[in-house]
Each structure stands twice: as structure tokens, then as C-alpha cells.
Symmetry: C3
Subunit: 454 residues, 3 copies
């Protein structure tokens, strides 16, 4: 199964028009789209439910919103672009003097043609976002403002896709789905996470893979609140975001910094993108903030191309379907596919002929006269890769250790190890040697209020 950049981009295009938020119909429509393609349980957490230090907010349903001149001419219309409405604006219907209106407008003087994306989830206010150039044309004394939006008890929705593996130990993939028409942040992550789940669903798996499609912050908090006793099973975790732009592949490390997933991601990125970046953890960004809060401290990092806040299109109307490119989506997918390969296939092989080098020539694994023998390269690995595998096959080195020491990609070392195993030179031991995570949750306060409706 090959996942093309075009297919990934098509998912982004299909989901782009929907006005998502951290609750409400747009979020449910998005989860529904995903649920048509992978096995997805839809979870709903009622408004008012305490989740850790937070409370699930009211559900927000925006229907229409505009600013009109008193002569009826429409100046700003939510129907034209769903970034125009400040997220979680309450209902409004009034003639507003310009001076007061200005206090409710958001624009970008330095990027005067773009609409910014703004939210006020936990305030109680209203507002519009618009191009600064348009804002500057507002000269009337007052404008008519109408917001048809409901803030009412409902639920927080999120989707959970669990693919059981041979082991109970889990790999967590977390993707925020709460942003409206922003393509890179984070339709790119949704498309790639969904296709990764589809690919893994079709294979035998060592690990149990858990994909969360959640609204940012409150969604991961809700999931963590409901699963405090289970997080100890998470061996590796990744947040996916901003994977469709042209920036270099970027890994933001887990809080631990030296988790196995940090090493795996750094290894893969080094071979997939010479310009790759590995950034240290900071307590700002996406849902890794919650997974890496001190009580949980899970081995969860974040895979990105351009990080949040570092590209001019970030959180503006310029983060659109032209900004994310099929070729970037495809390269991001390939990277996460290779990360998954390491997670699933790392092992600590043990040589069956550890004393001295085994005689490779008689097994067809060495050139009898320099350069004239059977080229092992045709099998997908170099002679040196094979020598490294045999030299380090002492049961204390994983294939990833070997790949790093040899400077070879994991896939080449894995191929060499399989050739050596086929020649009887290795016993491939697949038991994971990843360090156990310390987990948590035993002293977690009781949590109630979640009902599954999937």
C-alpha cells in the first residue's frame, strides 16, 4: 500500500471548508469523515465535566455572523471565511459604535491582507477577525453586528482508534482536530495520522497503536483524565502537526529528552532529511504539553515540519490548501512510516558465531576477489552494514544501536540482519529493550462523566 501526496492532500481539501472548534458540529463532522476510513470510537464528554484542573466548556454552535454598514452593505461575513468569527463568540445583535467595535476586532497590521485566527474559549466575549486593510476602511460612526451562535450544554467530542498488537504496550499518536480552515495546522496531521492508522490496521503489529483525534488541550486533558490508570502502557508517543509545509522535518523531544522515541525520531529524520531539526522540549506548543506534564511525563514528542509560530502563514488565512503541498505531505508520511518501522521492528540479535568473524565467503556474503563477488548491495544493504550487524550482535545492541554506530539507515541494518539470520548467523530476538516508562495514575482523583457513544 502506497500513500501518495495527492491522497493526503485530498483529505485536507475535503476537510478544509468545515468550521471546527474545540466542541460542536464542525468537530463532529470531521470525526465522522475519519470514522468512515478507519475504525474510530467517538467519545463525548458532557459540558461541565471536570477534567483534571479544567472543566469541559459549553458546546459552541456558530451559524451566521456578520458586520454590516447601517445602509445594509456587508463588510465582514462568517459565511465567506470561517476565520472571520472569533471562536467561542457569544450571540450578538446590536448597532455598535465604531469605537467599541474596534475593541472587538482582530487584524494583523504587518500582514494586512490576511485574516488572523483567534479564539476565546474560556473568556466570555465576541469578536471578528479581518484583514487589516479592510479594517482601515471602516469609517462609519456605527455598524450593525450580528452573531447567531449558541453556547449551550452539550459535549466535547473526540475520536479514538485502537489497533491491538501482540503486546499490551502502546504507541500513542495524538492529533488535534479543533482548528477551522487551517490546512497545515492541522489538516496535514489529520490526513497523515489517518493514513498511518489505515496502513497499520492492515498489518500484524507488535505494539498496540492508539490514535487520538482530539480538540487541542481540553481534548488531551479529557482523554488523560479518563485514562490515568492506563497511561503506563504507553511506550512511545507522537503528536502530529504542521506536516504539509516546506520546512525541514522537525522533532520536538519529549520532556525526558532521552526517551526511545526521541532517539528513533532523530535517527529517522537524520536519514530522511539532511536539514532536519531536533528541538529540545519546551512547555509550549501542542498536546505534548499535557502528555509531558509532570504527573504524567510520558515519552511523547511532536513531529512537525515548521513548528507553531515560526512561519508567517501560521494561524492566518494564508495557511490554506496552496500552502500545504502533496510532496511535503508525502515526505512527512514516509518519515512517520519509517519511525513506525523502527518501533515495530527493532530487536537485539544474537550471533550464532560470535568468536572471530564468520566466514562470509562460503555463504555468498563476501566478495572472493575484491569487487568481483556477489554484490550484497543488491539485497538492500552494504557489506559494511552486514559486518556491523555481525560485530554488534552480542544481545546488548539493538538494530537501532547498530544503525547509529554504523551510520546506516535502520532499514539497511534490518535487511542485513535478516540476510544474516537467513544464513544461520543470527538469532533475531524481537523482545523490546526500550526502557519502561514510569507511568502514573495510582493516586489519580476519581474521574466520572464520560460516556461512549461510538
Amino acid at each position: 500500500m502506497v500513500v501518495t501526496g495527492q491522497a493526503l492532500h485530498a483529505h485536507c481539501a475535503a476537510l478544509f471548508p468545515i468550521c471546527r472548534s474545540i466542541t460542536g458540529p464542525g468537530l463532529r463532522a470531521t470525526l465522522s469523515y475519519i470514522g468512515e476510513r478507519i475504525p474510530l470510537a467517538l467519545r463525548e464528554v458532557p459540558s461541565g465535566t471536570p477534567v483534571l484542573d479544567w472543566t469541559v466548556p459549553l458546546e459552541w454552535t456558530p451559524r451566521a455572523a456578520w458586520i454590516r454598514r447601517l445602509d445594509g452593505e456587508t463588510v465582514v461575513d462568517f459565511a465567506q471565511h470561517n476565520l472571520h468569527l472569533l471562536q467561542y463568540s457569544h450571540a450578538m445583535d446590536a448597532v455598535v459604535p465604531l469605537e467599541e467595535l474596534q475593541r472587538h476586532l482582530h487584524s494583523l497590521p504587518d500582514q494586512p491582507d490576511l485574516i488572523p485566527y483567534r479564539t476565546a474559549y474560556y473568556g466570555s466575549t465576541w469578536g471578528f477577525c479581518l484583514p487589516h486593510r479592510l479594517r482601515e476602511t471602516l469609517q462609519d460612526e456605527a455598524y450593525r453586528v450580528r452573531i447567531d451562535a449558541e453556547l449551550a450544554p452539550g459535549a466535547l467530542s473526540y475520536g479514538e482508534c485502537v489497533l491491538p498488537g501482540e503486546q499490551e504496550e502502546e504507541v500513542l499518536v495524538s492529533i488535534h482536530c479543533c482548528h477551522p480552515s487551517l490546512a497545515n495546522d492541522n489538516l496535514s496531521g489529520i490526513a497523515i495520522g489517518m493514513e498511518l492508522a489505515r496502513m497499520l490496521a492492515a498489518r500484524a503489529r507488535r505494539f498496540t497503536w492508539r490514535f487520538l483525534f482530539i480538540p487541542g488541550t481540553i481534548g488531551s486533558l479529557a482523554w488523560l483524565a479518563a485514562n490515568r490508570d492506563g497511561v503506563g502502557r504507553i511506550r512511545h508517543g507522537m503528536v502530529l502537526s504542521c506536516l504539509g509545509d516546506g520546512g525541514p522535518l522537525t522533532w520536538k523531544q519529549s520532556r525526558r529528552g532521552d526517551a526511545a522515541i526521541d532517539r528513533i525520531a532523530a535517527h529517522v529524520l537524520r536519514h530522511e532529511d539532511p536539514a532536519n531539526r531536533v528541538l529540545p522540549f519546551t512547555p509550549y506548543g501542542y498536546d505534548e504539553r499535557q502528555y509531558c506534564s509532570p504527573g504524567f511525563d510520558l515519552p511523547v514528542g511532536c513531529l512537525m515540519r515548521s513548528p507553531n509560530g515560526t512561519f508567517p502563514e501560521y494561524h492566518t488565512s494564508a495557511d490554506d490548501l496552496d500552502f500545504v503541498r502533496p510532496e511535503h505531505l508525502a515526505r512527512s508520511f514516509k518519515a512517520i512510516e519509517r519511525i513506525a518501522e523502527v518501533i515495530e521492528h527493532d530487536a537485539c540479535p544474537v550471533s550464532t558465531a560470535p568468536y572471530g568473524e564468520p566466514q562470509l565467503g562460503r555463504r555468498g556474503l563476501y566478495a572472493p576477489i575484491g569487487g568481483t563477488g556477489p554484490a550484497v548491495e543488491a539485497r538492500g544493504f552494504s557489506q559494511m552494514a552486514l559486518l556491523w550487524v555481525l560485530n554488534l550482535a552480542d544481545g546488548r545492541h539493538s538494530l537501532l544501536d547498530m544503525a547509529e554506530r554504523a551510520g546506516e539507515p535502520f532499514a539497511a541494518i534490518r535487511a542485513a540482519a535478516e540476510a544474516a539470520a537467513a544464513a544461520g548467523l543470527l538469532a533475531l530476538v524481537t523482545a523490546s529493550r526500550f526502557p519502561a516508562d514510569k507511568g502514573s495514575g495510582n493516586s489519580a482523583p476519581e474521574f466520572a462523566g464520560q460516556r461512549d457513544i461510538a
Copy 2:
């Protein structure tokens, strides 16, 4: 209480004219000046007392010294500058042929206008120091030389200021006071150490602070000999010297290199002076040589600006009151004040809401819409400083750990932690987690001969 550069410089000016040595009236006059300003015990160790591998020397009392032409014209006069006399010169009264006199003269051909500073504590000789240009004018066949100086049984003097804290664990601050009219080396250290002691004396203290005002080498040896059983209480230590010149702030590490004080000093200097230097320990320099001898191996480094031997004014008459500047003294004082702050206030806070991030918005600690909320910056810390504190408040990270990981100054992290504690988000645990020093002294030979006269 603010300590100004002017006040520090005034101390240097007051003490500059005194002819100090490792024993004698000049040293006592200096200790007396200090004792008028901070609580100081004066210790006297009799000549001939064995101190570790050494013996306390005779006490030296220079009164007058000159070289005159046979016609009575004075060529060199100790009354003009107290660097003119080789320290510990014995008495002398003779007509000396020029050829022999030359063997007793010290000058600097490369700095012909400066008087060098020379000592012969443990030899038995006499000599004069003079500008090379003056030396070159000596053409007579013989000169009359007179040194009125006494070398007689007496005592070695030093001052000790102990400021008890909540804990018995100690911070040692050691300052050499044996150099005559040299301002940077080490009136600068005396002024800063004295004012630090005065500032700390006015505060509640966690640690017990011990300030030693001692003659170099033999003074620290005498103190160590008398306190072998107590040095295990020393948790942090600093030698202060050369703190008034324009060089960058410099920390010479303890012999251990990774003592807590090494980390603290490096952290503070990084934020106080971009040009700062952290130098590895070497067994040459000031009294850290004694504290870091292998039998003691105390966590004692040395705070300086320009290290000994690295500036042209070093140990010459150019190390005067113009060479040390109030602004440099003030910056040095600020650095040591901040070092003291870390020592006294480091702690390992524990979050009361460790599962997920706490909701800062409802506590007024987060902007509800980007850039529009209450600026936490007004409280002396950044939003990121607060997020770091909360993320690392797992009881295993000290405030200093947090400051280093966040790249923020300790004071900002401390302010953020106090704000979080005030909001009920942290329990501030002040128990030190600095590694215990191994101490020593149990097998120390018996030491006698010290009498306190304070």
C-alpha cells in the same frame, strides 16, 4: 540595602596606604578596619606553631627602609611607597658596593616605570623593588642601605566572621588580606567580602556563612589546621580576589569541577556577563590551592575578574586606586549577591496540580486572547518561566535546574515559582538537594597552639 561601587571603592582607598604582609601590624590594622564594620573574631596563631606541613613564621615589622647615595641623597625610600621593600627583608645597615646591591634589587625591564611587588617569606634575605628606569641611574660605586625591620616571635593574625543560619551547613568565603598597596589584589576582594557579610548579617539565613580574612597560603593553612574536624560542614565555598578591574567575570572551578557552587557560579555569570569565563581548576592561584588540596578537596572555587598573572598591572605599583573602578566593583558585587541568592533560595518545588497543565487563565496567569491579558511580565518573570516552573515541579528539579533548562535567570524562575505558590499551584520545598561534600578530618593529627583573642 544597596551597596554602591563608590562605597566599595572607598573601602579600597581607606585600606590602600597600609603596608600589609602575612603577619604584623599592617595586617592587624586591616582586620581592625573590617572588625569595625562586621562582627569579626580576631585569631592569632603564635610564631613557630606547626600548621599542617608548614610552620607559622616570625612576625615582620618593617619601620623604615632606604637606599641613599654616600652623599646622603635618598634614591629609594619605603616611606614613599611600601612596595619598595622586599617583604620579609631582615634588618640591614651598611654601605654596599653597587655590584652587591644589584643582586638585591628587583625591577621590571619591560615595565620600566613600575615598582614590582616581591616577597621572600621563607627565605632569609633582604631587597628593594624599584622602577627599572631608576635602577639604571645607579652609577656610584657604593650606596648606603638601611632597613629598620624586625623579624621576631609574634603571631599570625586572621579574622573570622561567622553568621549562623538555620542549618549547620556552611558557606565559606575566603579573602586574602596580606598584600600591601595593591588595590585589585586584593582590596577589591576585602571590600566586596566585607559588604557581602554586612548584607547577609541583616537577613535571615538558611546556611551558616563563614568569612575568613586571612593572609594568603599560611592563613588558610592555619585555619584548616585548626578546623580539620569542621570542614565537612562546608557545602559551598568561594575565594574572592581581583574583583575591581575591567576584565570579564571569571569563575575558577573547584578541584571537583562539578560541585554545586561551580554550577551556581556558572549560571549567575552567564546571565550577569556575556563575556564571562569559567576556568577549570588548576593547583596554582589563591587559597583554593589549600581548600582543594587532596586531603580536604572542598567545594571551593574562586571568583575573579582578571585572574592572577593575566593583567599587566598584576603585582606592580600600577595595581592602584585608579585601576579598580567603582562600576566594576559594583558589577562584581551584584554577581556575588546573585550567587548568594541561589545558595540561599534554591529549592525543589512540587506541583499541586501535576496531571496536565493547570488552567492558568482562571487564575489570572495567562492571557485570555493572545497579548491582551494581564502581563505576568510585570511580576518579574515571563510566561515561559512560569510554564517551565510548573512543568518541572516534580520534586526532582531545583529552581536552578529549571533556570538552566529554561535559559532564564534564577531570579525570574524564583519569582515565577513564588507566583505559582501564591496561586496554590506549588508547594515550595526548601530542603537543599545539593550533594553532600565528603568532608575529611577524622584522621587529622592533633593540632594545638591557637588562642582566640577576639
Copy 3:
């Protein structure tokens, strides 16, 4: 005893004409030359003997070999240069069409005037090596080819020189002796290893030194197979090769990378050659491949100048007696002599006056007035070297530790330590603190078939 570059070069010259291989009369002649100069046991392992994963091959005795035109003119003649014959070619006597002959010829198009060195130990074929320019002149339809060579049951020969020391722990020096007329690879190693053995034989030794003069790969395998139970005694090991060219001194680390020998070699090379290189282990090169196979994992690295494959003369007729220079051989010998000094003389001294600095002045080890005292430099060490020795003499620092921390050569630190010991300031404890090697061999399969004939 001084070993000159001329003497080392003379050994290369004496051995150069011999046609060595991994078995046979040339190898035995070489071992005989060595055995006339150092105590050497000659070991012979019969053809067919299994050695670990390999089998000792038939013995090869080449006598004559040529290619002639059908009119009798000789084109290529083994008698002219013993690189002309592919090593382990079987006997041959036939008229061979040019097209078929070409498949048995080896030349270097990029170095058309050089004869390459090629081997086919474990194939069954024949061939000639010749300058590419000569090969291009072959135009006849067929040539007469004759190879008078015997492949017959015999033995693998190697030489073993054991110099017992005070301790059973061993230092292994392994030198391959299987290459025909190639001077750098490895007559240089043979000459230097032989002279090192001669030098050490004349001295008292702490360690037992074991020198192996062996054919590459199969020789070290044969020795390892016969000595599996004894390899745990090896504390340090070196393979010597390519030590006569003009490249910088190079240490290829053991598989462990942090073995004591890795540190020792790096220290010596740092002081002997500013351009020195320390290369990480790779499972390709010389017999370190076998010593560092995972079942043995011995602390064995490789001392070289230009590594195998990195210089244009490598494995060609240009690796001749002009390519290796007496001055390079002499510098290589000096380096290994200094490595041997560290191995034999490292120790952990303990100060007898550890509390404070000892008073050096009264012992004549410190200048009483700056620059005027007895220069300790005349004794082969600096004042700082002495201060470092005394400061670190806590029984936990070896002389090598001190040398590294002080940035001084081991010899200077050793001289300072001996001066301090002579002054009663140090107890020199010579017990090695090198980490024990983990050894192996308990589960080794039974090995038989070796007979000693020395």
C-alpha cells in the same frame, strides 16, 4: 638502547624480497628472520584444522609463473616481482586465448604503471597482476601461461614471543606477516614489533607481553581458537600495521572505544604528533576484527600511520622500500615506546602530606623568590606538573589521569612523581587500576589440532 629509523628500515629491506602468503615457505622464512632476533616459538596448525568458523587452508608454494607470447617472449614473470601472481593461484600450464586470459588479469586503469596486489585464498582460481599499461599491449590471439605452484596439505605457521612479567595480565601485540613485497603493509609493523619485543625483553616488566607474528585473519583466528581460555588475561592489545609512511600517527579504537589502551594511545599520540588521528572502531581493517568480534571483545586497537585503503600506494607495487622512510619508522617506534611506558609505569600515587599543600621551598622544589630558585625544569618536569601530581595524589588518580588533566606528557608527570616520591611526599603505588576485561571462553567449543614445533 636506541632503535634507529635506519635499523628499522634495514629489517624492511631484508624481508622485502620474500614472497610471503598466509601459508608456505615465504612466511616461514620471515618467521625465521624474526626468530633469529627475539625469542620466538614457531607454531604450525595443520591444513584442514577447524579454527572457529573457518578451516586452515592448504599450504601454498609458488615456484614460478609467467605469461609468454607463443613466440616465447616473456610478458609477465613472477620472478621479476612477486606481486605478479594472484596469491593462491593453482598450477596452470596451457595456451590461453586472450579473451579468456583477460578474465584472469588484474590491473589498475587509474594507476597504469603499478602492479596491484590480489589474493584468492578461499577461491579456486588462478590469475596474474600487472601494470595496466602492459596489459593494454596484449594483442596476440593467445598466450602461453604457466604457473608452477603447489596447493597441498601442510600447515599454517605463526610465531609467538612471550615475555613474562611480574603479573599474569598480558599485553597483546599482533602483527600480520602474510603480505609479499609490500613495505608499509606490513614490513613496517614487523620491524617495529620485533624491535619493541627486543627492547622489552631486556627490561624488567610489569605485564606479560605477547607478540604474535601471524598471517592476517586466519592466523589470528587460529591463535584465538587455541587460546580461548586465556584471552581473559589480555589487559591491553595493539595491532601494528602501516607504520612507515608519512601520514599522521593514527589510533583506531577498540570495539569498546573506552578501553584503557584507547586512552593511553590517544594520550601518547596527542603529544607525539599534533596531526594525530583517533578513529572509531569499524569492523573492517586488520586482525582487530577478530580480537574485537563479539564473543571476544578484547581491548585491542590498531596503531597505524595511513590506514589501509587510504593511500594510493596501498596494495600496489608502489608500497616499496622508498615509500617507507627511516624517519617515519623512527617516530612510530617512539610512539609505541611511549605507549609501552604508560602501560608499564602507570600508577596511583598517594600523598603523604595531603592536607594543604606541602611546603616545597624547604625541599628545594619551589623558587623562593619568583624565578630565582632551583629550576625543577632541569629535572624534566615543570613546576605545574609537580603541583598537579601533589594535588591529585589521592589514590584515585593515576599518573595518566594527572597527565591528561594537566595537559602534560605522561613522562613529565612520571618524572615529577618520582621527584616528589624521592622527597618523601608521595607513596608510589604501582597497582594497576585499569578496568578488568570481561574475558570469555568458558563456553568455547573444544578445539584440537594445534601442535607446537618451536
